[in-house]
């Protein structure tokens, strides 16, 4: 290594200077090639790209991120990892960590995550989601649970108090629903997908006591699922047009443009609601934990080391360093300074005074409350996307009316689930 460095230094005068400067920060060059990263668009990653030079100084190489939106990113990363495997770093999430880990498409992270970057500082819930069969596979970029986000002004005007139970919420939604004046009671997700409509449906299912599997036996085809589906369909009467086939973008978009009275959504919405760049309801928004018995949908997305593209230990170390740097305290602090609420994952950052100053004590309190009801709602298994997406299509059909028999649909899913388990043996 040293000999090669000496030769390189002899080759070019300018390089000598650069290597010398970098050398003061880190004597060894960790990376020999630029890293290829497949991700989905995140404000945090866009911000990260401004500091490419910093990473180059640290590791000796740069990085390139290809962005695809969530569903396409999932499809593409799956296709890439199972075939050519050209990405050094994959963006994975709660829905596919089991699949990626089980198929050996990603490498356990902590072996290559430098100790000084303090992995234990991450929010414990997100660490749990990133873990499969006792091994951690990704470092979180985002994550959280659910919050009930409501319009303080509308609730006050209608004399409705903040609902703490589901029954109260349903009454409030009916009372606040006033489409003639451009206000809809609630916003839900109707678009197919384990991370779309099924994601918002699961808190009802789990809240009513539903369970996906009992060992190897499907256990979801029963009263809780029927009741959850019926409640979800009933609530859809108060959801704005466009949400029946829409997902996060459509329902939060409707809320942020001032057309929705309240909704239960993933925590990053609260950050967007106070950002005047995207929100028309700044200053009118309140937060609280999801009304009981709804559970919060615990989730996390993050970066993992690709197994195929990083053939040797040195390459894995390089990818590990990139992930550690990208999720470091310093970079998280930059995101906090930029007001990127949804991009914060470290306990030390989220309990800091700057956080409270920036986002208000209300939100801090709501987050602490919701952490108590946040749960892993989905089936932690490589086959989850398969089962979840299948249910997503049936649920979309129920929502849009091409299907009406709830129990029959669940029976169909039950048969499908049995097939999945049988196929595995």
């Amino acid at each position: 290594m040293r000999l090669r460095a000496a030769l390189a230094a002899a080759a070019g005068g300018a390089l000598v200077l650069a290597a010398g400067l970098a050398g003061t920060a880190n004597a060894e060059t960790v990376c020999s090639h630029d890293l290829r990263v497949l991700a989905q668009p995140r404000d945090g990653l866009t911000l990260l790209e401004k500091y490419k030079d910093e990473f180059k100084g640290l590791s000796g190489a740069s990085f390139n991120i290809d962005y695809l939106n969530e569903n396409d990113r999932r499809a593409k990363s799956r296709a890439d990892a199972s075939t050519v495997g050209k990405y050094n770093v994959y963006y994975i999430d709660e829905a596919n960590v089991a699949l990626f880990a089980k198929s050996n498409w990603v490498t356990p992270l902590l072996d290559y995550y430098p100790k000084d970057y303090d992995f234990a500082d991450f929010d414990p819930g997100r660490q749990k989601v990133a873990t499969f069969e006792d091994k951690v596979y990704f470092a979180p970029l985002t994550g959280g649970g659910d919050l009930l986000v409501y319009r303080k002004d509308l609730l006050e005007k209608a004399g409705v108090k903040v609902p703490t139970t589901l029954d109260e919420m349903i009454v409030a939604v009916q009372k606040l629903h006033d489409p003639d004046h451009g206000v809809y009671g609630i916003a839900l997700r109707g678009q197919r997908g384990s991370g779309a409509n099924v994601w918002r449906w699961m808190p009802y299912f789990r809240g009513f006591g539903g369970k996906w599997f009992d060992g190897d036996k499907p256990a979801f085809d029963g009263e809780p699922a029927v009741k959850a589906t019926q409640t979800y369909l009933d609530l859809f009467k108060y959801s704005p047009p466009g949400t029946k086939t829409g997902s996060w973008d459509e329902s939060t978009g409707a809320f942020l443009s001032g057309q929705v009275a309240l909704l239960v959504e993933s925590t990053p919405l609260s950050g967007e609601a106070i950002d005047p760049k995207v929100s028309k309801v700044v200053g009118k928004v309140g937060y609280s934990r999801p009304p009981s018995p709804l559970t919060g949908g615990g989730y996390a997305h993050g970066l993992a080391i690709g197994a195929k593209a990083n053939k040797d230990d040195a390459a894995k170390k390089c990818a590990g360093l990139f992930i550690a740097w990208a999720t470091s305290k310093e970079n998280e602090k930059r995101r906090l300074d930029d007001g990127q609420f949804g991009e914060l994952n470290r306990t030390s950052i989220m309990t800091s005074d700057e956080f409270n100053q920036k986002f208000g004590a209300d939100l801090g309190q709501a987050l602490a409350d919701t952490a108590k009801v946040t749960a892993v709602n989905f089936w932690q298994d490589p086959e989850w996307p398969n089962l979840g997406d299948h249910w997503g299509i049936e649920l979309e059909e129920l929502i849009t009316g091409t299907r009406t028999d709830i129990k029959g649909s669940l029976d169909e899913l039950n048969t499908y689930a049995k097939g999945l388990v049988a196929n595995r043996k």
Binding site: N71, R192, P241, T245, Q259, P382, E394, T400, T402
Partner: protein, 291 residues
């Protein structure tokens, strides 16, 4: 006949070899995969004969997608021609050459737009609350209309985009064809007191029969490849009402379950079906043209 030069061979053989490799390697690979039980998440696989094809017959979603594909094919081809021909006649009959040329340029623009961009633009245009295209409907009915979420209108809404791109382009092609026709037969018909529509229906358009049939074929092939449009606008939804065969195959292969072999068997079936259908149609049409 004696071949005096080796040039034809020199020029055609390398091209044919390249084409053969490009066409056959993926095809054979697809057939090979279709006979196995490969899944993305599992590197091991064995040959299972025609099991995938047998499973397709019992798969209601597959049967639905076959039907949706046929519906889509008929709807878009008929609608494109139904828009293109009258529009071309109107342009030819009612506008001065300068106006006509300006309009032609305008009509080509939608087809120049990449499909995915067109799909995104229209998806916003169909948005029930903010969409420009559905605003008149909202005024008439008094409440927001969500065309893409309604199983009865979703396919129609996507087809409108397809016709917007291709119907307008084809009308330009047909106008240009009309301009190339000799004026004498049309004048003769007019002297015989034929009405305007009769001049076109019985004289001008029959003279363009061959060209129009070619256009229909081009559109049929083009309609088979509507994946990008449907993927962006509805993802096959609501439910499975706009899920065409290629959409379902992609879904099985890459979105939902990673069942590559199952998806391949669909692709193989689709290839066989289209080859047979097009061969039969082509023969029919040629016989009809010779009459």
């Amino acid at each position: 006949m004696k071949i005096r030069t080796s040039l034809p061979i020199v020029f055609t053989v390398p091209t044919m070899v390249v084409l053969a490799i490009l066409a056959f390697v993926p095809t054979i690979d697809a057939i090979n995969i279709a006979l196995q039980n490969r899944e993305l998440s599992n590197p091991d696989s064995v040959y299972v004969g025609f099991a995938n094809f047998r499973a397709l017959v019992d798969d209601p979603r597959f049967l639905n997608s076959v039907w949706v594909s046929i519906e889509w094919e008929i709807l878009t081809v008929v609608a494109t021609m139904a828009v293109a021909v009258p529009l071309a006649v109107l342009l030819f009959e009612a506008t001065s050459p300068t106006v006509r040329n300006a309009l032609c340029v305008l009509f080509i623009v939608p087809a120049l737009l990449p499909r995915v961009s067109a799909a995104f633009v229209w998806r916003f245009a169909f948005h029930p609350l903010f969409g420009l295209a559905v605003y008149p409907l909202r005024l008439i009915t008094g409440h927001p209309v969500d065309l893409l979420a309604d199983p009865h209108t979703a396919m129609l809404a996507v087809a409108i985009v397809d016709v917007w791109q291709w119907g307008l382009l084809f009308s330009v092609v047909i106008v240009k064809l009309l301009e190339t026709l000799p004026p004498q037969p049309l004048e003769a018909a007019r002297l015989d007191h034929a009405r305007t529509w009769e001049v076109y229906a019985y004289v001008a358009l029959p003279m363009l029969r061959g060209a129009l049939i070619s256009l229909v074929f081009v559109k049929m092939i083009e309609s088979l490849r509507a994946f990008d449009l449907i993927y962006v606008m509805t993802r096959g939804g609501p439910g499975i009402t706009t899920e065409t065969l290629d959409m379902y195959a992609f879904s099985q292969g890459f979105i939902e379950s990673g069942r590559i072999s199952y998806a391949s068997s669909m692709a193989v079936l689709m290839m066989i079906a289209t080859t047979v259908a097009f061969t039969v149609l082509w023969r029919r049409v040629r016989r009809w043209q010779e009459v």
